[in-house]
Amino acid sequence: MALGLFFVVPQLAMARFAFQNVPVALLDRGRLLEGWSLDRLGQALGEPALWEATRTSVVLAVLAIALNLALLLPLAVLAEIRAPHLRPVLTAITLLPWVIPPIALVVGVAATFRAVAPWFLASPLSLVPFYALWAMPFTYRALDAGLRSIHARTLVEAARSLGASWPTVLLRVLAPNLSASVVAACGLTAAAVLGEFAFASLLLKETLPTYLVNYQRSAPQAGMALALAVMVLTALALGAVVQLLRRRGLGVSTTGI
């Protein structure tokens, strides 16, 4: 119960600060219901820079997801149906991002790419490969759990023995069965990308989290409203992913371990 309170109070306080136009110092029991309005959120949403930052973040998320799936989906399928010896290798490699956190990698990236390929870091899109890397633990585990739960190997052998060609197997047998775990992988990747701050901030890229920090300094209440909105949206998206996994009976760990 106490733990439950601990998890709800910060958001409530955030909502109060954002939407109630009464300073804390003047707050008492009688004025608890005064001055509530959603104007601040509207003010925050009216900023063109917000949409610019959001667009960058969304593009980054989409590209990171695409890159991640392109790299990991074939390998996960291969490891499940053809080459089980690849699985421990993949598991170990996809754990590496835990060991090298963004703040550590950004130092290395500045030390190497800045010297070798300065043009690369100039574009905000240079974040894509790194974001794909940090989402790898989540993506790979979601895909792997999905493949295991549908008994991909049996399915593929059955399809092959019924005369299906490899493209048919991949497109009409595996793809439909894997859709849930692919969606889950996308959701987890998107959440990781939309929340990443260290890398974007140190490479001076304006993504949603870095924008939030800057904006909150100039407009405290509207910034708070925006942060709350971002938080609620992320939570809803992640919740939907978890719900989807549960309905499909997939025991996917969202912890990335």
Binding site: M14, A104, V109, A111, A191, P209, A227, R246
Partner: protein
């Protein structure tokens, strides 16, 4: 000559089947023999399979190598060769003076949130295990924990500022009932404050990690222990605790890694704080002098080494824990 070649090819084929990762067959055998294309092709196909799967790993390995390993190794190498010669000056400097306290603070913060979060998460899991009553409770809690464990970062820090900052609503509420948070020296930018904030994502993470082990505790074991005359204390000490221990310790190590490398939350709450990630930023941004750069590299090297050791230990514990876990 041709026969000899084919024998070696098939020979390497069988050895590749046994150990397909070591795909080091002679390149020449890939071209089909003009005289007997059929047999050569068959032999090629036989070992093309495992080799092909290993080849498929190459683009992925190249990707990880270029974007993750290359930068990291560069930093590590630079940190052990400051000024172009092998030496440990930079590494020693990174754990002395002001940086020593940064490491102490970071370690304290990570350890405190790992132990506190670990205990609370484990208690939560144990409490939920017994409850099957509201059918929605378990799934809702699972979902909520999955979400909350990912919620770190900028918005979370803002939320705590609104609640427990000097002008926070909760601070005001507590002051109204006679608890003076600000006066007692509590502030979100101190280690205590950061610990409270970190627990917000550490507890749910721990819950998710230990839940499989907790559900793996079978009711029949307790019954068996009771039948053999063991009281609850004896049961917990000799049956439940040894089974839960590996996953609990493994979970705590994960929390430790998670807290040590957390950056955004700490930065928003206290951007000039004496924590390792913040110091790395400080060194990286503020200084272009070569010596200072080496210092930043050394800080990163220590961090990566520390996290690597924790992760290695954690995987060992997780492997032990997996024997009794139930998803």
């Amino acid at each position: 000559m041709t026969d000899l070649r084919l024998v070696t090819t098939t020979g390497s084929a069988s050895s590749l089947d046994a150990d397909p990762v070591g795909g080091s067959s002679p390149e020449g055998s890939r071209t089909p023999e003009p005289g007997r294309p059929g047999r050569a092709a068959r032999a090629r196909r036989r070992w093309a399979r495992p080799r092909g799967s290993t080849l498929a790993l190459l683009p992925f390995l190249a990707f990880v190598g270029v974007f993750l390993l290359w930068p990291t190794l560069t930093v590590v190498v630079q940190s052990v060769t400051p000024d172009g010669a092998v030496g440990t000056q930079a590494l020693m400097r990174a754990i002395s003076g002001p940086y020593r306290s940064a490491f102490q603070n970071s370690l304290t913060l990570a350890a405190a949130t790992a132990v506190l979060g670990g205990v609370l998460g484990l208690l939560l899991a144990l409490a939920v295990r017994g409850m099957s009553r509201p059918a929605w409770l378990r799934p809702a809690l699972d979902a909520w924990c999955s979400v909350a464990s990912q919620l770190g970062g900028v918005p979370l820090a803002f939320a705590f500022v609104a609640a427990l900052g000097t002008q926070g609503a909760l601070t005001k509420l507590l002051a109204a009932v006679g608890i003076d948070l600000v006066g007692s020296g509590f502030s979100l930018s101190t280690l205590t404050g950061l610990t409270v904030v970190y627990l917000y994502f550490q507890v749910p993470l721990m819950f998710l990690v230990v839940m499989p082990a907790v559900t793996g505790l079978r009711e029949s074991w307790r019954e068996a222990a009771t039948l053999m005359g063991a009281g609850p204390v004896r049961y917990w000490r000799t049956v439940a605790a040894p089974i839960l221990l590996p996953s609990t310790l493994g979970g705590m190590l994960l929390l430790f890694i998670n807290a040590f490398s957390a950056y955004a939350t700490a930065w928003v709450l206290n951007s000039s704080g004496q924590l390792v990630p913040l110091q790395i930023r400080f060194v990286l941004q503020g200084n272009v002098i070569t010596g200072e750069q080496d210092l930043g590299y050394a800080l990163v090297t220590w961090t990566v080494a520390l996290l690597l050791a924790s992760l290695g230990l954690m995987s060992l514990l997780q492997r032990r824990a997996a024997r009794w876990s139930r998803g």
